[in-house]
C-alpha cells in the first residue's frame, strides 16, 4: 500500500533521514522503533507532506506523494496523529472532531462520529468541553478520534503512549488494534517497543536516520539486539 524509498530529509544542514526505505502492506500494523532523535517523527512528517524530501520517493498505491501539500495528502487517505497530540486547545471536543473530517464531502461523517464516540465514550461526555481542558489521556483519545474522522485508509500514529499511565497505554493499544481489525492500515511510531511489537505484524528499527533492522514482530521480539536496546534486557 505504502512504499517509501530512500528518503533524505534535512533540517538546514542537519541530515536527519539518510535514505529511509520501508513499506506497509494493506491491512498491516507496522511499527517503527527507535531511540530519541532517530528520525521517527521526521519520517512521519515527510509522509504526510509537512517536510520535503531531497530525493527518494513515497508512493501510496502507486501514486507518488512527494511534493503533494499536506492538506491534499489527507484526501488521498492518510491521517496523521502527530507527536504530542496537537489537538486544538481552544476548540471544543466536537469541533476538533469536525476539523478531522474537514476535507470530506461524503455523507458518512455522522456515522463516523458515532463510531468515534463508541470507541471513546469519554469524548462523548466531554463533547462540548474546550479541548485544552482535557486530561492527557483524553487528549490522546481526541487526537486519535480526530484522525479517524478523516476515514483514513492509512493511519500514522506518533508515540500514542507518550505520557500515559500503563493502564491507559494498554487501553489505547487495544483500541489501535481494534481500528486495524476494522480495516485501517497502521504505521505506528513508538518508544514503547514491547507494547508496539505486541500488536504489530512487522517492524523496523531506525537509528540516526537509517533503518538498521527489519522483520516480523515475532522475529524482532526474539532478536538479541532489540531485546537489549529496546526491550530493556541486560
Amino acid at each position: 500500500m505504502l512504499e517509501v524509498e530512500s528518503l533524505h530529509v534535512y533540517y538546514g544542514e542537519i541530515h536527519a533521514l539518510k535514505g529511509v526505505t520501508l513499506s506497509v502492506g494493506k491491512g498491516e500494523v507496522v511499527t517503527l522503533l527507535g531511540n530519541n532523535g532517530a528520525g521517527k517523527t521526521t519520517t512521519l512528517k515527510t509522509l504526510s507532506g509537512l517536510l520535503p524530501s531531497r530525493g527518494g520517493d513515497v508512493r501510496l498505491e502507486g501514486d507518488t506523494l512527494l511534493g503533494v501539500p499536506p492538506h491534499e495528502i489527507v484526501l488521498r487517505g492518510i491521517a496523521h496523529v502527530p507527536e504530542g497530540r496537537r489537538i486544538f486547545n481552544r476548540l471544543t471536543v466536537l469541533d476538533n472532531l469536525e476539523m478531522g473530517a474537514y476535507a470530506r464531502a461524503d455523507g458518512g461523517i455522522g456515522q463516523d462520529l458515532e463510531q468515534v464516540f463508541a470507541l471513546f465514550p469519554r469524548l462523548k461526555e466531554r463533547r462540548t468541553q474546550v479541548a485544552g481542558t482535557l486530561s492527557g489521556g483524553e487528549q490522546q483519545m481526541l487526537a486519535i478520534g480526530r484522525a479517524l474522522m478523516a476515514a483514513p485508509r492509512l493511519l500514522l500514529l506518533d508515540e500514542p503512549s507518550m505520557g500515559l499511565a500503563p493502564v491507559l497505554v494498554e487501553q489505547i493499544f487495544e483500541t489501535i488494534q481494534g481500528i486495524n481489525r476494522q480495516g485501517t492500515t497502521i504505521l505506528l511510531v513508538e518508544q514503547n517497543a514491547a507494547m508496539a511489537l505486541s500488536i504489530a505484524h512487522r517492524g523496523y528499527v531506525l537509528e540516526t536516520g537509517g533503518i538498521v533492522l527489519s522483520g516480523s514482530a515475532a522475529d524482532l521480539q526474539e532478536n538479541p539486539e532489540v531485546r537489549r536496546a529496546y526491550l530493556g534486557e541486560s
Partner: protein, 323 residues
C-alpha cells in the same frame, strides 16, 4: 460642580461613546484576526479602513452628481456603500497579503512589519494621487443625506440622529455575523484551527494559505465597513484619516487581548466609552483645569492601568492550556 448637568448629558455621552467604540471594535477586528493567525501586526490596516471610507464617498458623490441621492432610499444607498466598501477593502487586504506579506513568511518578524509600514505609506499616497487626479482634491466630504441627519428628540436634552442609530445597528449586526461565522461555521472553526496550529491544521486537510487569505478578506471587509460608517458619522475624510483611529483600534485590540475576537469588540467599546466620557466630563469634573483635549491622555492612562493588572488584555487567554 454641576451634578445636574453631569446627569443630564450622560445619555448623550454614552451614545457618542458607543458609536466611537463600535467603530474601534470593527477596525480592531482586522488587527486581531490577522494577529491571531500570523502573529503579525498589519500596520496597513488603517489604510484598508480609509479605502472603505473613500469608496463610500466616491459612490455618494457620483450618485449626487446624477441626482440619485434624492431618488433612492437612503437605506438602500447605505447598503450599497457598505457592500462596496467591504468588497473593495476586503479584496485589497487580501491582495496586500499576497503581494507584500506572503513572500516574506518565515523571515524574521521585523521584516513583514516593515513591509506593512511601507504598504501603509504606499496606500496613503496612492489614494491621494488618484483623488488628486480624479477630483483635484483629496480632502473630501460625505454628501449629506437628509433622512439620515434627521434627529429624534427623546427628552429636552437628548436627541439622537438617525445616522447614529444606523451606525450602531450596522456595527452590531456585523459583529454578530462575524461571531456566527467564526464560531458556528466550519470555515470559521478552520480559521481558528489555523490560528492555533498551522501544521496540524494542514493535516486536517485545511488549506492554510487559503484560510490566511480569508482572514485578511474578512478583517479587511470589517475595516471597510468601519470606513463607510466613519464617513457617514464624521463626514470629513482624507488619505491620512486612518492613522489615529487605526492606532486606537490597535490599542483596543491589545486591550481586549490581541488575537481574541470578542476581546477586540470589548476593547473597542471600552476605549470608545472612556474617550467619550473623558471628553465631556474631564473639564466639568476638574472645573476646567483639564479640558476635553486631555481625553486621550486620560483614556490611555486608564488603559495602561488595566494592562498593568491584566497584561494579556481583558479577555486574553481565558482558556487554560495544558501540555
Amino acid at each position: 460642580m454641576d451634578l445636574h448637568l453631569l446627569i443630564v448629558i450622560f445619555p448623550q455621552v454614552l451614545l457618542d461613546g458607543l458609536i466611537l467604540g463600535f467603530m474601534y471594535a470593527l477596525i480592531a477586528l482586522g488587527y486581531t484576526m490577522v494577529y491571531g493567525v500570523l502573529e503579525f501586526i498589519n500596520f496597513a490596516h488603517s489604510e484598508i479602513f480609509v479605502v472603505g471610507a473613500f469608496v463610500g464617498v466616491e459612490i455618494l458623490l457620483m450618485l449626487k452628481a446624477r441626482g440619485g441621492l434624492e431618488l433612492l432610499s437612503p437605506f438602500l444607498i447605505l447598503l450599497l456603500l457598505l457592500v462596496a466598501g467591504m468588497a473593495v477593502s476586503g479584496l485589497l487586504a487580501m491582495a496586500v497579503e499576497r503581494v507584500a506579506y506572503r513572500p516574506l513568511r518565515g523571515t524574521p518578524r521585523l521584516i513583514p512589519l516593515i513591509s506593512a509600514i511601507g504598504v501603509s505609506f504606499f496606500l496613503q499616497d496612492a489614494i491621494r494621487l488618484v483623488e488628486s487626479i480624479w477630483r483635484n482634491a483629496f480632502n473630501l466630504v460625505y454628501p449629506t443625506m437628509d433622512q439620515l441627519n434627521h434627529r429624534f428628540t427623546l427628552t429636552e436634552t437628548i436627541d439622537v440622529s438617525v445616522k447614529s442609530v444606523v451606525v450602531i445597528v450596522v456595527a452590531l449586526l456585523m459583529l454578530w455575523a462575524l461571531h456566527l461565522l467564526v464560531n458556528r461555521t466550519k470555515i470559521g472553526k478552520a480559521i481558528r484551527a489555523v490560528a492555533e496550529d498551522q501544521a496540524t491544521a494542514s493535516l486536517m486537510g485545511i488549506n492554510v494559505n487559503r484560510m490566511i487569505s480569508l482572514t485578511f478578506l474578512i478583517g479587511g471587509a470589517m475595516g471597510g465597513a468601519a470606513g463607510v460608517l466613519f464617513g457617514i458619522q464624521y463626514s470629513l475624510i482624507n488619505p491620512y484619516t486612518g492613522f489615529i483611529p487605526g492606532l486606537k483600534a490597535f490599542t483596543a485590540a491589545v486591550l481586549g487581548g490581541i488575537g481574541n475576537i470578542p476581546g477586540a469588540m470589548v476593547g473597542g467599546l471600552v476605549l470608545g466609552l472612556l474617550e467619550a466620557f473623558a471628553a465631556s466630563y474631564l473639564s466639568l469634573l476638574t472645573h476646567g483645569a483639564f479640558g476635553a483635549e486631555y481625553k486621550d491622555i486620560f483614556a490611555f492612562s486608564v488603559l495602561i492601568l488595566i494592562l498593568i493588572f491584566r497584561p494579556k488584555g481583558l479577555l486574553g487567554e481565558v482558556v487554560r492550556e495544558r501540555a
